[in-house]
Symmetry: C3
Subunit: 132 residues, 3 copies
């Protein structure tokens, strides 16, 4: 298992970690298998989305924040919206590995979704070879 350390820069952002995940896969020398990516936090998540136009990331962050409903949040830390969005985006993703490489669509990137930053975050990457 590889543990990435990612420093986020804003309160809320989608931070591209595709190259770090690709590197973790190639470091482990697995030809055919799967790659589990997991974020061990409750106010950040993991998501896949477009890797080309950075406006998409900005649009997604603003739209997610606008989706948080106007209810009275009781949690004293004041970051219930971050817990909500982290839960909706999800904490992890299983990716496929073929020919030693991550299988992603042409426009797919892997993003750490920060909703309560900036912070240092951890991302766990575990690559498992297919059984022989």
């Amino acid at each position: 298992m590889v543990e990435l350390e990612i420093r986020t820069q804003s309160h809320s952002e989608l931070r591209d970690i595709t190259s770090q995940v690709r590197q973790a896969v190639s470091d482990q020398g697995v030809a055919e298998g799967v790659c589990h990516v997991f974020v061990p936090h409750t106010t950040a998540g993991l998501t896949l989305n477009e890797n080309w136009d950075p406006d998409v990331r900005g649009d997604l962050v603003r739209a997610l924040q606008a989706m948080v409903p106007d209810v009275h949040f009781r949690h004293g830390e004041g970051n219930s919206p971050a817990h909500l969005l982290a839960g909706l985006v999800g904490a992890g993703q299983t990716l496929l590995v073929r020919g030693g490489k991550l299988v992603l669509g042409r426009w797919q990137g892997v993003y750490l979704a920060e909703f309560d930053g900036p912070r240092m975050r951890r991302v766990l990457v575990k690559v498992i070879a297919d059984p022989q």
Copy 2:
């Protein structure tokens, strides 16, 4: 790994792909294991939901579209709502395989969630036997 090609018919729909995923599982002859289903797109996703009353699918599509907030989207292609909903629904799911068959609840079906169609979409299905 099996690659399904699915032609969606509408701009937004939940398209039942349960039988194709079941077939991919039985084709691979794995008795006990897991089945990773992955959509390599950023304006479509994968979800599980009720397989009986087709009104549920319609309700879900209309509700998801109504959840898209009224923010100014900058992405020039105009499909930021599709990117948002694909991210919320998620790109994949790990299913369990027991006795050579997919383990699904009585009312669970597997759906390709299209948010920017109609298009030809790909769905990757990888079945992995438990290690001996």
Copy 3:
């Protein structure tokens, strides 16, 4: 595969099942591997979120319910909001196992997300050792 039976107590709640999932992992005696948790229902899901302040769970449930848009739902059973929220939260999660234990963040718990209870629910837990 272990099958947990969980009795939910309210119409909508996040029910902590972390200890049961931890127990299922330790019962199977796997040192290094993964743990797939799967909910075979369409009006309940599985999510990870904060395990400390119970106000977070209450906040999340109320916020999720408030996010359900005011559209006309056609499904006759009247539980389309539960289907919507179950789809958004997701039906399963792959967790990592290291040193015989579930790898969770310090504040992460595993929750059955009930949206149409109270009911008896099933949660499937499958632990797979890494290939040798």
